[in-house]
Every structure is written in C-alpha cells, then in structure tokens.
Amino acid sequence: MLCDKCKKNEARVYYTEIINGEKTEQHLCEECATEYTSFQMGTPIMNQELTLGSLLSTILGNFGGTAQGKGSVEKELHCDKCGMTYSEFMKVGRFGCERCYESFQSILDNSIKSIQGADTHTGKKPKNFQTKTEKLVKELSEIDKLTIQLQDAVEKEEFEEAVRLRDRIRELKKEEIGNA
C-alpha cells in the first residue's frame, strides 16, 4: 500500500488520530509520519542512548522553563551556583554542578520518573552520608529523644514504659537546673 500523503513510498505506519472524539486513520510512509505526526522514526538499535537524551529534552520541555511553567522569559530558571540556565540545559542535556539538581527540582520532579521509571534513589550511599532524619535525630537532646519516646509509648498505651520515661525526663530536667 502506498502512503496516503505523498503517494510515492510504501506505507509503514498505520496512524490513528482521535481529536475531540473524531477519528481519522491514515497509512503513512516513515518520512511523512515523521513530518506530519508526533512519531519519531529512527534506526532503533544503534542510537538508543541518543534517543534517551532527546527524549529527556522533549519531556523536560513539556514542563516549561519558568518557575510555575508560565510567566516571562526574565524569570527563567537558573542555578545560582554555576549559572546554568534552563535553556542552556535544554541545549546540552547536562547539569553544570551538583546544585543544579536542587535549582531545577521543580522540573525534574515531574520528569525524572518518565526517564528513569522512578524518582528516589534506593542504592548505595557514601559511607559517612547521613540522611536528613539521621541528622535531626543526632542533633536532638537526650530530653527531646525521651519526650518523643514518651509520646510513642502513650499512643501505644504502654503506660508502665510511659511512667518510666516521664520519671527519667524529670530527673534529667532537675539535673539541668542544678547544673545551671
């Protein structure tokens, strides 16, 4: 069958478009499909990485470069550490520094899932790396920690444990006052 558009090449793409409930069907050759539809034809095997790269730009492009996805060009997103701008990133597909991941987070959050299929790291961590929760816990005073445990015990209705914790907290507070 020949292509419906150019009527020259063999039709290889069967394209169905539904706009406002109205269905149109076309038989197209690869060239016309690329030109007239959102289809990107290419050699599938050797350029997958490249395809992923351009896919990235396309996906990120959909979310716009401004803070809320609308607004003026002057407000273009940029990284305040390395100066990378949104449009520069779109061109090269590479970030300029580690801060870029925070600076462009509003766009990344929406798109990284489409690229990676996930948006949160679960693998290896650097040896001395502390998560935010670990850091917070570390900074807590002994009394704060016990108070959290006390609330937990009360919620679980473990009253004996709660009494023990309450007494311990009282002791510590007394010591503190004494020390002061």
Partner: protein, 344 residues
C-alpha cells in the same frame, strides 16, 4: 597477571566480557561542562595523586597518565581495547587515566563525569566486576567527598545516569541471531525492559563481527544488586535464544555453515591484504565455527583477543608508528596468518 581477554571463562561461547561502570563527581568541583581548564588540571592531578593508594589497598598494581597528551595511536588503541571511552579521547581539556596492569580496572578522570570507575572480567562474571568497582569506589570516597543527594543518589552530569550512577554491561557474541536478522527485533524487545542492545563501542557505533553490548538504561530507583540481577535474567534469555538459533543452523544448514567456516579460515590463512571490517567478519565466522565445534583448533584459542589486536589503532601501536591504510591491510593479513591456530 592475566588480562581479562586472556581469561578462560564461563559462558564464553556467547558472553565475551562483563563490565561495571560507576559515574562519580567530586563535591568540590563544578560538573564537566562548567569546569574551567585550571580546575580540570587540578582535578586530574589530584585524583592521579590520590590513586597511588590503590597499589597498597588492592591486590593490583596501577599506572596513571594524562590522556590528552598521549599520541593519537595510543589513544585509539586504548579505545579499541575498551580501556577508555571515545568521549575521553575527544576532550580537549586535561583528562587522566588510572589503569591496573591487568587492564581490568580503569578510572577515567574528567570524562562526562569527574570519575568513571570501570571494572571488567572475562566471560559472564558481573558480580566479580561489581565487587572490584565497589571497592575502588569505597577507597576513593575515603579521599574525596562525592556529590550525593538523599533523594537522587549519586549526582551526575546527565540525569540519565543519576542514582546508582551504574551501568552494568555484557559484551555478547550473537552471530546466529545476526544471521537470522533478529537483532533489531531483539533490541526492541529488550528496550521494553529498560535494557539497551547496541554496537561494540557503545553509543551509536556500528557493530563489528556480531559483537554487541547489553546494558541497563535506568540507574535510579533500584539497588545495584537489583539492576545486576535483572540484567542477568535478560542476558540468560538472550544466551538461550542465540544457542537455540545456533542449533537450528546446525540442523538445517550444516553443510553451508561448515563450508563458510572453512572458507573464512582459508582466507584468513592465505590472504595478503585484509581490511579490519573483513577481518572482523571472517574471525567472527571462525569463532562461531570453533564454538559450534565445526572446526577444531588447539585448546582455548582466544579469537576475541585477536579481534582486538588487529584493529587499526592496536596494529599501529604494536608497530609503534603510523602507517597507511594499504600497508595496514598487508600487515594485518601477515599478523593474522602468524597467529592463526592450526586445524587439528
């Protein structure tokens, strides 16, 4: 110590080698595209210097060098042996390399990311490759703070590598599937599982001698072990398909296959000039013949090693000088003839 391509290894009729690559960036420098020349010099110097501890903290010996000052021949030869990437060669800024003597571990400095830690083993043994890469990563991390975020993991220049920063890949020999014209379809199928199949030398390169790379595409959201296990499952499938196709060839076109293999041997044995493309095709035929036991040569003869040695860069590297294309084809024919095993 044996280089990886000299090792006798598991499943080597299909899987030639297993490779792990970890992408890492140091916290204190901007990423590659925002790195100025002075910072690049500093980065390369600093990492090379720090790399001296690998000698004492692992069981291997290492050499380091500045890649951008090497001769074109040296660089091409290293790309052909998969020690460095084409991207590292193209860079004009200061670039560096730390390489173990057995060439199983290489650390590229100032490639797309500050560090690209690569570990390779012969045959199907990616667990071993990961163990080594992981050790080098730990040692390096003792010396430098990495760019890392709780949410996104190891931060990389390109968001397609973020998370584990890990690319696990198998180099596979798929002559029967290639002959059956099934590679494109296979690549599409693997794509659905987030796995890429491409030509020998990575991104957008042609495949030579039916040798391909199979690697994970996604780097975020799964642990290193999960990525490896998933890839293993897929490679085992591919291996089964290739072997089944080879059996099919044996049953249905034994005479034709046998003739092809012996012809290839004959040409390789007596040709006076041979281009690298031709040589790769002929050697692939011969390798298939040996793997399928259509032709018998001395034990453990490693065709893949010969395939790497006859690439233009490596040939000139061995001659220690640049020669013209025709001279190269003559030298290559000579080189192969001398190393071709006898039929037993």
């Amino acid at each position: 110590m044996l280089k990886w391509y000299k090792e006798a290894a598991k499943n080597s009729d299909v899987v030639i080698s297993s490779r792990i690559r970890l992408a890492r960036n140091l916290k204190k420098y901007p990423f590659s595209i925002k790195l100025n020349d002075q910072q690049a010099n500093q980065l390369v110097q600093e990492v090379k210097e720090a790399g001296k501890v690998f000698d004492t903290q692992t069981d291997k010996r290492y050499n380091s060098c500045n890649v951008n000052v090497l001769s074109e021949i040296d660089k091409t030869a290293m790309v052909e042996r998969h020690v460095i990437s084409p991207l590292l060669v193209e860079k004009e800024q200061s670039t560096g390399l730390i390489l173990s003597e057995d060439e199983k571990i290489s650390i590229m400095i100032n490639e797309e990311d500050h560090l690209r830690i690569q570990s390779v083993t012969g045959g199907m043994n990616i667990g071993e490759a990961y163990k080594t890469a992981n050790l080098i990563d730990d040692i390096t991390n003792e010396l430098f703070d990495y760019a890392f975020s709780e949410k996104y993991g190891y931060l990389t220049s390109c968001p397609t590598n973020v998370g584990t920063g890990m690319r696990a890949s198998y180099m596979v020999f798929l002559p029967a599937l290639t002959l059956a014209g099934r590679i494109t379809k296979l690549a599409e199928e693997l794509g659905k599982y987030g796995v890429a199949l491409r030509g020998t030398y990575g991104e957008s390169s042609k495949s030579f001698g039916s040798i391909y790379q199979i690697s994970n595409q996604k780097t975020l959201g799964s642990t290193e072990t999960e990525i490896i296990e998933k890839l293993n499952g897929i490679v085992e499938q591919v291996m089964r398909q290739e072997r089944r196709q080879r059996e099919y060839l044996l049953i249905n076109s034994f005479d034709e296959m046998e003739d092809k293999v012996y012809r290839s041997y004959g040409i390789l044995k007596y040709a006076k000039q041979v281009s690298s493309d031709d040589a790769m095709t002929l050697l692939a035929q011969l390798k298939l013949g040996i793997d399928m036991e259509l032709i018998h040569v001395g034990q453990n003869y490693n065709i893949h090693e010969l395939m790497m040695e006859i690439q233009p860069g490596n040939l000139q590297y061995q001659l220690d000088k640049a020669i013209s294309c025709t001279q190269r084809d003559k030298f290559r024919a000579d080189y192969i003839r001398k190393r071709l095993p006898d039929i037993v």
